[in-house]
């Protein structure tokens, strides 16, 4: 009799999800599905709101990465107003986005994911969490807090508060950078850089120990999508062109204006999840699976453009890549650390820009187009905002393709690959917890933000069910 195993909910991620593992009669994994079980509906209830409110409204999609939505929404507003924002405004928006990358990546690496690879996949699940991490590695936990705090300070000093700052608006930003804030951020950079380099060395030192995870945690051929700079295809996080590469490093799409995203990206919906399944149109669904986020950004760019991060990128590609492309989703963790370093170096460059303290930070315009698109990179990947407005700037239609959604097909493929490798010959539905934890970790590699991607909150105990094809629950295990 075929069986279904349910991991519900998946823990140490943002939002609510569960994983179903389908067993064949022989007790092997025949299929796996990642279900996002929350629905929020921002695309619908934004209709009728003034476009000037959209950055503030869409920021509420998430408390972890509100800045990403503020950036994409403000850029969409720029497009509708058809304004060129002042150069300093763009630099300040970039700085805030880089602060966002730093705090979000630090949370993912130090506090959500590292308990697995630092404390052990099969260690006591009661201690394989942030409490166990603090007990075993207090220095690392402290450093992680400080690094995340630095990213949040950049956001707060620019926007007035850490969460949901109503600062970036169509036409630019509301407030310039103060000299006091400039000095404070500059003073904190060396410590943040040192913490990141320590974490990079720690992770690189563990690579040999995690060869099996590297080989089987989402290691497959796929496309990679991300923004690159208009000049030299450098690592990009705020603007630029869309680029698509395959697992051999072939560039399939290059120099595509992000406003034309819909020419290459289609959106499918599956009945088992509220999360969209975007795909690369020329290959169709589901063959057009692609990945976004830190791993993809490092795969699509020519180089980063800052010395320390470029050296790390070269080592990253040499150590875990093939032909310059890294295909294992376990390496999202490694890529995240390289990106923090890149973000810190870029923040340093921006702080030394002679115009960074300019007070000219906002252009004024009115409704000059009835449709606008804003695309930027969120920590988790490429973020698309697309609005239609009426003559008065009231929203008529909204389409959001959020980073986590872009990775939906790849996340499903990842949990299936991990389950098929580790879970074999299961009779009676009893699976060691450590193996199920590996399946969950496949999702954590992508650091999904389900609050964003479904347009949640709450405690997330883990429930594992083994259910027969006729619906009978054969076994159940609950972890509070």
């Amino acid at each position: 009799m075929s069986q279904r195993i349910v991991i519900d909910p998946v823990t140490r991620i943002e939002g609510h999800a569960k994983i179903s593992l389908f067993l064949s009669d022989a007790g092997d994994i025949s299929d796996a599905r990642f279900h996002v079980v929350e629905f929020r509906g921002f695309e619908k209830f934004c209709e009728g709101r003034p476009i000037g409110e959209m950055a503030g409204i869409t920021a509420r999609i998430c408390g972890i990465c509100p800045i990403s939505h503020i950036m994409a929404s403000a850029k969409t507003g720029d497009d509708v107003l058809t304004v060129q924002i002042p150069p300093t405004a763009e630099k300040l928006r970039r700085m805030m986005n880089l602060g966002q990358f730093t705090q979000s990546h630090a949370l993912s690496f130090f506090h959500l994911s590292s308990p697995d690879f630092l404390l052990g996949w099969d260690s006591d699940p009661a201690k394989r969490n942030v409490f166990g991490l603090i007990e075993k590695q207090p220095d690392l936990a402290r450093a992680g807090i400080r690094l995340r705090q630095f990213g949040q300070e950049v956001i707060e000093l620019l926007g007035g508060k850490k969460i949901h700052p109503a600062w970036a608006v169509p036409g630019g930003v509301r407030e310039p950078l103060s000299a006091e804030a400039h000095k404070h951020i500059l003073g904190r950079l060396p410590e943040a850089r040192a913490t990141t380099e320590t974490a990079l060395n720690l992770f690189k030192g563990m690579l040999d120990k995690h060869r099996e995870e590297t080989e089987h945690f989402g290691n497959f051929r796929s496309l990679f999508v991300g923004l690159v700079s208009r000049d030299g295809a450098l690592w990009e996080h705020y603007d630029g062109y869309l680029r698509v590469v395959d697992s051999d490093g072939n560039i399939l799409v290059d120099e595509l204006d992000p406003r034309r995203y819909h020419e290459i990206i289609g959106e499918a919906v599956e009945p088992f999840s509220y999360l969209k399944s975007p795909f690369y149109k020329p290959l169709g669904y589901p063959q057009g699976m692609y990945r976004v986020g830190p791993l993809a950004r490092l795969n699509v760019c020519s180089r980063i453009g800052t010395p320390l991060a470029d050296a790390e990128l070269a080592e990253f590609r040499q150590r875990v890549g093939s032909g310059g492309i890294v295909t294992s989703s376990f390496m999202y963790h490694y890529a995240r650390l390289v990106e923090i370093l890149a973000a810190l170096e870029r923040i340093g460059m921006l702080l030394h820009d002679p115009d960074i303290l300019s007070k000219r930070v906002r252009s004024v315009g009115s409704i000059n187009k009835l449709e606008g698109v804003g695309v930027s990179e969120a920590p988790r990947g490429t973020l698309f905002h697309h609005y239609h407005v009426d003559e008065n700037g009231l929203i008529k239609k909204v389409n959001l393709i959020v980073a986590t959604g872009n990775n939906n097909l790849a996340m499903n493929r990842t949990v299936k690959q991990i389950a098929q490798h580790y879970i074999k010959d299961i009779k009676g539905g009893k699976i060691p917890e450590g193996l199920l934890n590996r399946v969950e970790h496949g999702i954590r590699c992508y650091d999904p933000c389900l609050s964003c991607s479904t347009h949640a909150f709450g405690a997330m105990p883990m429930k594992v069910e083994v259910v027969a094809a006729d619906g009978r629950v054969l076994a159940e295990q609950v972890r509070d």
């Binding site: 949370l107 506090h111 207090p138 807090i145 949040q152 300070e153 707060e156 850490k162 909150f457």
Partner: protein, 164 residues
């Protein structure tokens, strides 16, 4: 006062008051509302630092470890006519995840301060009853009256009282 936390350059306070909650969910905004009112009436040399936070963040832990005393102000769900504030002495406890601001509570944050930074201050929670947590700004009438009681209690705790 700084919104949503503090900065490392600020001098350590003797007493740290943290009012937290979502000001866009009616009575959940009681903590920030009380903290804001308190801050307006504190003398400059009070030794008290007031923070308004949307949620409890792990970054507050080092700041807590530097304070001698901490007072958290929050709302709790109660009957619509309940105006009785609750006061609880807190001890550090590893309960909810202090890195998940959706579930983090004062005791876990105190535990984080003690575990990572060596000490946690003497602390208490002043909780205000709330019944309307729907979308919107401003507290319900009963909660607003409870906020006034909480503010008076905070003045007793924080400011020198006249001798009888």
């Amino acid at each position: 006062m700084t919104a949503d936390g503090t900065r490392a350059t600020d001098a350590p306070p003797i007493t740290l008051v943290i009012g937290y909650g979502n000001t866009l969910r009616r009575d959940d905004g009681a903590g920030p509302s009380i903290a804001t009112s308190l801050d307006e009436h504190l003398p400059a040399d009070s030794g008290v630092q007031v923070l308004v936070a949307h949620q409890l963040m792990p970054e507050l832990a080092p700041r807590l470890s530097e304070a001698q005393r901490a007072i958290f102000i929050d709302a709790f769900e109660a009957a619509p006519d309940d105006e009785t504030i609750r006061e609880t002495v807190l001890t550090p406890r590893a309960g909810t995840d202090p890195f998940n601001p959706h579930v983090s509570d004062p005791a876990s944050l105190l535990w984080l301060a003690e575990s990572l930074y060596g000490r946690a201050p003497a602390a208490r929670l002043i909780a205000v009853p709330g019944s309307d947590f729907a979308f919107g700004e401003g507290c319900s009438d009963a909660t607003a009256r409870a906020c006034a009681s909480a503010l008076e209690r905070l003045r007793q705790l924080l400011l020198p009282q006249p001798r009888e």
